[in-house]
């Protein structure tokens, strides 16, 4: 009778208890995988929101611009610069921008916001900005009009075809002011972005700021998140210290901090979950040991070495965990695959709360093999630690006391 066969039969001696323990492991795996996949999905969506709605994976800026975001800290878009950048491996598109702060007025109403000069065709390749135009049209190549974000438009009570006044400080202290017709209204998925400001053609923005051929940034779309460090390295190699190169993490430190703190709190939640499951498994092991103490005594009495007996009990514990882990894995993989393709929209008050926090009101899930592997390994590790108890217990077992039932 091989150890594994004996262990397998032993775990089914008390079917109900084994099933309850297996289910607790199963739910631990499913819950932790769900939680981890949702986190990854939401983080991915937040990063995508930031990267693909505005920042890009990397931005090239004037060396002082990040510390002092003034219209004076701009750099020249020399001939062939964008093409040179786009020739770097991994760079899909280089998007030029001229950005500063502006007052946006209509009649006696004024609101401060960003004024972002864009190349519509290039911008479309990075941010697909046109998809957020809910009224009117996207900017054309020679457009002199603006796109205005929803909340600012509402505040200023303006609609399509109305004219807004933009006022700001131009390049090297000049006064910048102009009248611009509203071409379209932008409605983004988050409130933060809906408060952003106006977009206009980069040539119009240069004219407005008196910043001929200048840029505040070039946003890059990289073919994969993984390639961001290598692209940054290539930029440094190519342009040395002419510019400042910032990754999306450096551009959005608050997002990185949020993700890190959220991950830390999730670790605590998972820790509590594993603790509960761990005690569940430990309870089962303790009951198994107590119920079979006499039987274990008899087995040692008739000639079974304690080490082998401990191994059988260890196998029983690991088998229970293994069944739960495999069942949890088989259930959660298709579930997460389905949810990643069909994210859950959050409606009502909760949805509004998400938007207020600048989050898209959708629960995203992402299939990340590492999440599955981590949860499976953690549950198995917890069980492995618990399953060492029988070695201690049986090692101290006094045969005669066990047989007598003392």
């Amino acid at each position: 009778m091989k150890n594994l066969k004996l262990a397998w039969r032993n775990i089914w001696r008390n079917k109900r208890r084994t099933i309850i323990t297996v289910m607790s492991v199963f739910f631990a795996v499913v819950l932790s995988v769900l939680m981890g996949s949702m986190q990854e999905g939401i983080y991915g969506s937040m990063i995508d929101n930031v990267v693909k709605t505005y920042t890009g994976h990397i931005q090239i800026q004037h060396v002082d611009y990040n510390d002092n975001q003034s219209i004076n800290n701009v750099f020249e878009q020399r001939s062939g610069l964008l093409e040179e950048i786009e020739s770097i491996d991994g760079v899909e598109v280089a998007v030029p921008r001229l950005k500063s702060f502006s007052l946006i007025s209509n009649g006696n109403k004024t609101k401060g916001g960003a004024l972002i000069g864009i190349n519509p065709a290039k911008e479309e390749q990075l941010t697909e900005l046109s998809q957020w135009v809910v009224k009117g049209d996207f900017l054309t190549q020679d457009d002199q009009g603006v796109l205005i974000t929803k909340n600012i438009a509402n505040h200023l009570e303006i609609g399509l075809g109305d004219t807004i006044i933009l006022m700001s400080q131009g390049y090297h202290g000049t006064n910048a002011a102009g009248l611009y017709p509203v071409r379209g209204i932008l409605a983004f998925p988050t409130q933060e972005m809906n408060n952003m400001g106006v977009y206009l053609h980069i040539d119009a923005a240069r004219e407005f700021f008196y910043a001929n051929n200048k840029l505040t940034e070039i946003a890059l779309l990289v073919n994969d998140y993984e390639n961001v460090p290598s692209v940054k390295e290539a930029l440094i190699q190519k342009f040395d210290d002419q510019y400042n190169y910032l990754t999306w993490q450096e551009l959005s430190p608050e997002l990185v901090n949020f993700i890190n703190s959220d991950k830390a709190s999730a670790v605590i939640m998972l820790g509590i979950l594993y603790l509960v499951i761990g005690f569940g498994i430990l309870g089962t092991v303790l009951m198994m040991m107590a119920e079979r103490r006499r039987e274990m005594g008899v087995m040692v009495a008739v000639g079974m070495q304690k080490r082998r007996l401990s191994t059988i009990i260890w196998m029983e514990t690991m088998l229970i965990a293994f069944i739960g882990v495999v069942a949890g894995f088989l259930f959660s993989w298709p579930l997460i695959t389905y949810l990643s393709a069909n994210p859950i929209p959050i409606t009502g008050e909760y949805g509004a709360a998400y938007e207020q926090f600048g989050l898209e009101p959708v629960l995203f899930f992402k299939v990340v093999p590492q999440v599955f592997i981590n949860q499976v390994l953690t549950v198995l590790a917890v069980t492995l630690v618990i399953s060492l108890y029988p070695y201690y217990y049986i090692g101290r077992l006094k045969t005669i006391d066990a047989i007598r039932g003392n």
Partner: protein
């Protein structure tokens, strides 16, 4: 020639700080093929002596020599291995492994001895046939009566071809028909296999069958009669 020598063995329990002389200066020896019963009232020390003989408990004083080996000097895995190779046990409460069939319970001990699967199979079948359970080999203990379980326990005890079998009140939980049947089987196997049987018992039917009767009282041998 004696296979078991018990020399001035004492076992003193110190429960509640009151010394209890469970076995008090016993000298006995057993020879190959004996069919001996240790009798006496409850608390006379017969089960304690069996536990000492089986290496399940330690003597306070004295020596138990089995085939030249002092059992008291064996510890841990060596002691377990000694029991495996030399001693068979039959317990009052049968104590079969519930997840194994009758055949597997018998084979289990031989597997511990690392005997070949062919030998395990043939010997377990032969022993179960000898105890009248040829048709219940694949039944688990829960599907067997008390008498049948105890017969499997006897087959299990004989399976490793031990030097002697210790049977602690083997008939205590059996009805008279089962007792008679079990005793006949053990007597026959004792003759066939020439394995020494040592019982502790209250049962007069066991005493009647035994060829040697040792009477215990207050941890001492009161009488030792061979029929």
């Amino acid at each position: 020639m004696a296979i078991i020598d018990i020399k001035n063995v004492k076992k003193i329990y110190n429960d509640n700080d009151v010394p209890v002389h469970a076995v008090n200066g016993v000298n006995l020896s057993f020879e190959k093929g004996e069919f001996a019963a240790i009798v006496g009232p409850s608390g006379s020390g017969k089960t304690t002596l069996l536990n000492l003989l089986g290496g399940l408990d330690n003597v306070t004083e004295g020596d138990i020599i089995v085939n030249g080996t002092n059992v008291n000097e064996l510890k841990g895995s060596k002691l377990i291995n000694f029991r495996l190779m030399n001693i068979g046990f039959v317990f009052q409460a049968y104590n079969l492994i519930p997840v194994l069939t009758a055949r597997e319970n018998v084979e289990f001990i031989m597997e511990l001895q690392k005997r070949s699967s062919q030998e395990r199979k043939s010997r377990s079948e032969a022993l179960l046939k000898a105890v009248g359970l040829a048709d219940r080999m694949n039944s688990r203990p829960s599907k067997l009566s008390g008498g049948q379980q105890q017969r499997v326990a006897v087959a299990r005890a004989l399976a490793p071809k031990p030097m002697f079998i210790l049977a602690d009140e083997p008939t205590a939980n059996l009805d008279s028909a089962s007792t008679e049947n079990l005793l006949d089987i053990m007597e026959r196997l004792n003759s066939e296999e020439q394995i020494t049987f040592i019982f502790s018992t209250h049962d007069s039917r066991v005493v009647k069958k035994a060829r040697r009767v040792i009477t215990f009282e207050d941890g001492k041998v009161l009488s030792d009669e061979t029929k």
